[in-house]
């Protein structure tokens, strides 16, 4: 296990891990940002560690390698609210406890997705997991900015439909 993983998610460790892995950084008090500062997410109710864990969990539930972290951040930012605080605290604590039982510092320190997924599978029936998962179905896939990554074009009425724009343009059959 690397030094970073052993240290877990101190702000400094997260920063180091992020630089190393190209993932998230806690960039300041109550502030999570991408390493390249392309986006940032402020937390005021839940902790940075809890938000970082939610982000990793979101990626692990619906992993799309072509979809950048910022889209997942948009999908989970609503958990930074008083109404969700207790759910998130208990859920993240459960994830970390399961990670520790498996010999890791905490959930986000686990290096391989498949090892994190094993932990998620064990808590698949829990309210925390189901709330996060079902929220992502709309929170992630209903972002219009995500659609082009999948090739989906959304509405076409404003352009007159596809009658002259390739409704039958398939060329490989």
């Amino acid at each position: 296990m690397s030094k970073i993983e052993r240290h877990g998610l101190t702000r400094r460790a997260l920063l180091q891990r992020s630089v190393a892995a190209g993932a998230l950084v806690v960039a300041g008090a109550g502030f999570i940002a991408a390493p390249d500062a392309a986006w940032a997410l402020e937390v005021s109710v839940i902790s940075e560690h809890q938000m970082a864990t939610l982000l990793q969990m979101a990626r692990d539930i619906y992993p799309h390698d072509k979809v950048a972290d910022r889209f997942y951040a948009v999908a989970v930012k609503g958990y930074d609210a008083e109404d969700n605080k207790a759910l998130v605290e208990a859920g993240v604590a459960a994830l970390d406890a399961a990670a520790q039982a498996a010999g890791h510092a905490d959930y986000v320190s686990i290096g391989w997705e498949e090892d994190r997924v094993k932990i998620l599978q064990a808590m698949e029936g829990d309210a925390f997991f189901q709330t996060v998962r079902s929220g992502l179905v709309t929170g992630l896939y209903n972002q219009k900015d995500v659609w082009p990554i999948f090739g989906y074009q959304g509405e076409s009425f404003s352009q007159g439909g596809y009658i002259e724009r390739g409704f039958n343009d398939i060329d490989w059959l």
Binding site: D60, I61, Y62, P63, H64, K66, V117, R133, V137, T138, L140, Y141, N142, V146, W147, F150, G151, Y152, Q153, G154, E155, S156, F157, G160, G161, Y162, I163, R165, G166, F167, N168, D169, I170, W172, L173
Partner: protein
């Protein structure tokens, strides 16, 4: 010149619901000079209001009032409060429907005689047949402008169809075409031709697809004989000491309880709300609900044997472009028990946008198996399976413990698949996957049924009063001036999308009601 009738006017026909059944019936009666008050629980949305965004449109149009579910069907687990994807709006689900308009096959009117008794199923013959219905189907096809009927041409095939057609023909299927669709292939009846825009399920912004919302409803209103009361939620049907219905209590748009007197009441609130209303109308004279001496109200709920097959290819398909459901294979619709089940099924092209694909491809699914499917969304083709399911007395709508916003018990929808349904679905999955594999699919997804759009049978039509709720005119066996005018009167479901048959029955029922009124019989 929109009519406005007095609440105490007891000469009107009150119709509850304005969809394929109620909306058509309202116009047909108004055209014949009959005064009609139509109560519609939803608001009025027209093409300029429709939104080509799946979730936003769903919020605008879908029936989202509480319902509850039970039984072993997967919908009860994945969408426990949403057993159906149908519409609460003027025009009802004719806003949302895909437009597929095919007649029953002749033998499907006589399911019990044709298939024989099936264990666990409450099969019955309809008290009407193909010859009786032929002229009404012709009128319905002309009203809806159904392609490939009359002299109307078929729609052109989109990318999703071209993949489907090539695979189907490679398997040897013969009856493969772009469907008989109530979507104009050329300008017709004041409505323009399809612009291949997609989003047929969200309301056609061009008006190329027939919907009662912008055809029958305004035409009925133009006669001066039809008043549509929007956002008016029927609560109870009242009756007198002789057992005849006398009016309808409803909550108006401000939530106030009103009572409209009536000469005749026609219930067309869909297969959940229609039996719910009859059950909620129980009285000391009818303690089990109106028209329920047979104990058949709410029973024999059918939802069609459905499912979907999606598949991914190594190259793009872009299935969302163009008409959503203009593609059909009919070869499996025949009755051929050698396949291991009675009845048959249709295969029809279908696409969902990315947001709904994420929700419906494998509800509850997550992880790489799920997300790699969506990663190939652009290379995906899709089809829907629609086949005849077995009526079962235990599949039923009952009153739930849960109450709605007006304090009325909501519908609980109980459903278990019949073994015949399961055998047919498995056959259809296999054939659907084979179609796509024949054109090089690299991966296929047998997708479970969505919340139901074809909801049928909870006030079924029967020859004998003890077997069902209504007679061959949709008139209740128990109460002469109470009619059922929607898909709940279906005796059996047949393999075909039901709207054309609902419309044909409504046109026929209007003719019957008007002549019975003239004769002074009701």
């Amino acid at each position: 010149m929109v009519a406005k009738f007095d609440l105490n006017d007891d000469s009107v026909v009150v119709i509850i619901g304005t969809g394929a059944g109620g909306g058509v019936l309202a116009n047909e009666l108004a055209q014949k000079g009959v005064k009609v008050v139509a109560l519609e629980a939803g608001g009025r949305y027209l093409p300029e209001d429709y939104v080509n965004d799946e979730w936003e449109s769903f919020t605008q149009l879908a029936w989202l009032d509480a319902r509850t579910t039970s039984g072993s069907w997967r919908v009860a687990k994945d969408f426990s409060g949403l057993p159906a994807w149908i519409v609460k709006a003027v025009g009802g689900t004719t806003t949302h429907w895909a437009g597929a308009s095919i007649r029953f096959q002749d033998h499907e009117w006589k399911a019990l005689s044709t298939y024989g008794a099936v264990e666990g199923a409450s099969l019955l013959d309809w008290p009407i047949d193909a010859a009786e219905m032929a002229p009404w189907y012709e009128k319905a096809e002309a009203k809806l402008g159904v392609t490939r009927t009359g002299d109307r041409a078929g729609l052109p095939g989109n990318n999703n169809y071209l993949v489907f057609e090539k695979g189907a023909k490679a398997l040897g299927y013969k009856e493969v075409h772009t469907g008989r669709m109530a979507i104009n292939s050329a300008d017709y009846d004041g409505r323009m031709a399809c612009q291949q825009t997609g989003f047929c399920f969200q309301g056609c912004k061009w008006g190329a697809k027939w919907s009662a919302a912008y055809t029958d409803i305004p035409r009925g209103e133009a006669t001066g004989n039809l008043e549509v009361r929007e956002r008016s939620h029927a609560a109870r049907i009242l009756h007198d000491d002789s057992g005849k219905v006398t009016g309808v209590e409803y909550f108006d748009k401000d939530g106030n309880l009103q009572m409209q007197k009536a000469r005749i009441v026609c219930v067309a609130g869909n297969t959940f709300e229609s039996p719910r209303l009859l059950l909620n109308s129980a009285s000391s004279m009818f303690p089990n609900g109106l028209a329920n001496s047979s104990d058949q109200v709410g029973r024999n709920y059918m939802r069609h044997m459905t499912g979907s097959v999606y598949a991914v290819f190594d190259k793009p398909v872009r299935m969302w472009r163009g008409t959503t459901m203009a593609g059909i294979v009919q070869d499996e619709a025949r009755h051929d028990p050698s396949r291991g089940f009675v009845g048959g099924y249709e295969l029809e092209t279908l696409s969902l946008g990315l947001p709904f694909m994420a929700a419906f491809l494998n509800p509850g699914g997550w992880g790489r198996s799920f997300t790699t499917a969506l990663d190939s969304y652009e290379n995906m083709a899709g089809m829907w399976i629609v086949g005849e399911d077995m009526p079962q007395a235990t599949n039923r709508v009952t009153l739930s413990e849960t109450k709605d916003q007006f304090g009325l018990p909501v519908a609980n929808v109980h459903f278990d698949d019949h073994p015949n349904d399961v055998a047919m679905r498995n056959h259809a999955y296999k054939q659907g996957i084979a179609i796509y594999e024949a054109v090089g699919a690299t991966r296929a997804f047998p997708t479970p049924p969505y919340p139901s759009t074809h909801n049928l049978g909870t006030n079924r039509m029967s020859e004998k009063p003890e077997d069902g709720v209504v007679n061959k005119w949709g008139q209740t066996h128990d109460i002469a001036n109470l009619f059922i005018s929607d898909g709940s009167q279906f005796t059996t479901g047949a393999a075909e999308n039901p709207t054309l048959t609902i419309v044909a029955l409504a046109i026929r029922q209007a003719d019957h009601i008007a002549s019975e009124m003239s004769a002074g019989n009701i």
